[in-house]
């Protein structure tokens, strides 16, 4: 065998990934085990028999659009894994091999897979364009899982998951005292800015909702979290944050079903510990999608899952969120996070909220289930060393979309999308765009029914319960 290329991946891996020996054998053993216990078999059998090779998927892929490289055609990438499957796990492949034909899985081939499957963000935009229903995002998901079993895992994802499952207990390594400090700070901010006393309730047993945001929000998205608390406050919701587990992030979705299962089970366990009735997920795309797997892992009596957008819209529609008279004046556009919108599950709720609170809401095209990925999907946003790739070839399409709207606020209810979009804007000259969450804007227009402090402050909104102001 030739020399391996694995010390030149685009992303950092840990030393142990470079030390693994006999990778093809171990990869195939993992493949066999996954086929045995998982539910991928029928899909692979069907895909490997059927493939139109029509190139329709390429026409929908923003990466291929940008690079024009064969390796970025979704169907081409999928074929990388299907070739292995066909050769080692189908009758005809075994027969061909016996006749001395066909391909052999090598170290170099694995390196190629390691590179290609992390160029795809698993946004699944191409799925609807495949005549044969091939879900290329599923193949990316599976291939990364198999690669993780030979320790090919981007270091950024691995380290965070280790921290969550074996370290402090969450991906941002925020210990409980720091979490409580942060929430106290947010409470003070809310009082200072809006004159309202709102508390972040910890470890309340029997609450209706146990709250799982992307834990990074506690570090980076104060406004989103204040918006979340504000909505819970004005709707008199019974909710709590569990100090046993307060992280909705699940990088297992991006690289390993084994990890994903453990992380989802931890969310269920914390909800049960607190005797909470429902899991409330914050503004995070992949946390929401992972939480939708709660019924898969938690059995029939698993707690129901609701996303904070679904809750907020339900309450707003019911008239339970009082709003100020004036709306957000600046132009607002909405980016659909792939993980909640592609399946069509959360598409209209955030739009309805934004239409209700913004004077100038515009859509980017295409949108909803056909949106373009922010370019940081599938965990790639956490891989800082590939930023130029993310905001360049992967993110350029999104930058053009945003520019075409002329919006000031670019709203996306997803921690990953927000980080990526901010970088896309920065690297593509969109300096006037402000990336925010839905709850950030909602917070600005909620009428708490109390006089707001800081009348003479330039930023402040209004002078009392009468609510008379313009921005």
């Amino acid at each position: 065998m030739g020399k391996t290329t694995r010390d030149t991946y685009s992303y950092f891996v840990e030393q142990k990934a470079l030390d693994v020996t006999e990778r093809p054998r171990k990869f195939l053993e993992a493949f066999a085990a996954v086929l045995d216990h998982g539910n991928y078999g029928v899909a692979l059998e069907t895909y490997s028999r059927l493939s139109a090779k029509c190139g329709r998927c390429a026409a929908t892929c923003q990466l291929y659009e940008a690079t024009g490289e064969d390796r970025d055609i979704p169907c081409h990438r999928t074929e990388l894994l299907l070739r292995v499957f066909r050769r080692y796990f189908t009758q005809s492949g075994l027969l061909k091999a016996r006749l001395g034909q066909g391909f052999v899985l090598t170290d170099e081939y694995l390196d190629e897979m390691a590179e290609e499957y992390y160029r795809c963000t698993a946004c699944r935009r191409c799925k609807s364009s495949c005549p044969l229903g091939i879900d290329h995002g599923l193949i990316t998901h599976l291939a990364r899982y198999l690669l993780s079993e030979i320790d090919v895992i981007p270091k950024a994802l691995l380290v965070a998951t280790r921290e969550q499952l074996e370290g402090v207990g969450n991906t941002s390594a925020i210990p409980v005292p720091a979490l409580k400090d942060t929430c106290e700070f947010l409470e003070e901010e809310l009082e200072e800015l809006y004159g309202v006393k709102i508390t972040y309730p910890f470890d309340v047993e029997g609450a209706e909702f146990v709250f799982f945001p992307a834990v990074s929000d506690y570090l980076m998205e104060a406004d989103t979290l204040m918006g979340n608390a504000a909505v819970m406050h004005v709707t008199n919701a019974s909710w709590t944050i569990g100090t046993g587990n307060y992280d909705g992030i699940n990088y297992g979705l991006f690289y390993s079903d084994r990890m994903m299962e453990r992380i989802v089970n931890n969310v269920i366990a914390e909800t049960r510990r607190l005797k909470g009735r429902k899991i409330l997920v914050g503004e995070c795309g992949h946390a929401t999608r992972s939480a939708w797997y709660v019924p898969a892992f938690g059995g029939p009596d698993a707690p129901p899952v609701i996303n904070c957008l679904e809750y907020a819209w339900e309450m707003l529609e019911a008239g339970r969120i009082p709003l100020k008279d004036e709306k957000i004046a600046e132009r607002v556009t909405y980016h659909d996070p792939c993980n909640i919108a592609r399946s069509g599950r959360i598409v209209e709720q955030p739009r309805e909220i934004l239409k209700a609170i913004c004077a100038d809401f515009v859509e980017m095209t295409p949108n909803r289930t056909e949106n373009y990925c922010c370019g940081g999907g599938g965990g790639t946003v956490s891989i800082d060393e590939i930023r130029a790739f993310r905001t360049g070839p992967l993110g350029r399409r999104k930058a053009e979309q945003v520019r075409a709207t002329g919006a000031h606020y670019l709203v996306s209810p997803c921690a990953n999308c927000k980080k990526q979009l901010a970088e896309v804007c920065e690297d593509n000259g969109l300096d006037d765009v402000e990336v925010v969450g839905v709850h950030d804007l909602l917070l600005k227009v909620i009428d708490f029914g109390v006089p707001e402090p800081g009348e003479n402050d330039a930023d402040s909104e209004s002078d009392g319960s009468g609510e008379e102001d313009q921005e």
Partner: protein, 236 residues
């Protein structure tokens, strides 16, 4: 009887029946295996809630090829027309129905011959342009295997020969010879259907539900993979 008559009888008789049986059994095998796979996957799934409307919607949009018009419009229209012609003409051609009637006594309404001729010509043009579009569209060309280029042309052969059989004035070859080619190519396709991409005729309706089910993880699949690989308790 000349040699070609004998051959023709043979192709129309035993070879045709063998092809038909091969096709039915081959496609039947695909259907049974796929259905078995679907049921097995569904049983293993932890979450048995399927978004039925979405899956059925996507399935129908691709069976009727309307989704195909969303990108690559010309290719979409071409493939749609091609499929309609190659399904309708062989099944509703008066001559074919007469043959079936002779053999089995069954009968059904036929296409007017003029319309059948028109659809035949369209099918041939569509087959050729599909290949041209595949060659001209860089992405598709680079993805394509040998059968992707050849299959539309193979499917077009019975149409081209059928046209010449029906229109002797256009036919430079002896009638019997053309009929021989027509039946031969038709028989060949019967044998090819289950073992080439043509098998999508039965597999396509299952693909959407199969893709959906693959995301329905068995409750402890991950843990069991860990145990099988002896890594369940390894540090991350």
């Amino acid at each position: 009887m000349t040699t070609i008559d004998v051959l023709l009888e043979w192709l129309r008789g035993p070879v045709f029946w063998a092809g038909l049986i091969f096709m039915v059994l081959g496609l039947g095998r695909h259907v049974v295996l796929t259905l078995y796979g679907i049921i097995r996957t569904y049983r293993k799934a932890g979450d048995k809630n399927i978004p039925v409307r979405q899956v059925v919607g996507a399935t129908l949009r691709w069976i009727f090829l309307t989704q195909g018009l969303k990108n690559r419009l010309l290719y979409g229209i071409n493939t749609l027309v091609f499929h309609i012609c190659i399904i309708v003409v062989p099944l509703f051609l008066a001559g074919h129905i007469a043959l079936v009637n002779q053999a089995t006594g069954l009968s059904w309404p036929a296409l007017p011959n003029g319309l059948a001729t028109a659809l035949t010509v369209i099918a041939i043009i569509a087959a050729v342009t599909i290949v041209i579009q595949r060659v001209a569209f860089t992405t598709a060309r680079r993805l394509s295997r040998f059968q992707d280029f050849v299959m539309p042309l193979i499917v077009a052969i019975p149409f081209a020969t059928g046209f010449l059989v029906m229109h002797p004035t256009w036919n430079p070859f002896p009638y019997q010879f053309m009929l021989f080619l027509h039946v031969l190519s038709g028989d060949l396709i019967l044998f090819l259907i289950p073992v080439t991409k043509l098998s999508h005729m039965v597999l396509l309706p299952g693909t959407q539900i199969i893709s959906e089910l693959a995301w329905h993880f068995p409750p402890d699949a991950g843990h069991r993979v860990g145990v099988t690989l002896g890594k369940a308790n390894d540090p991350i």
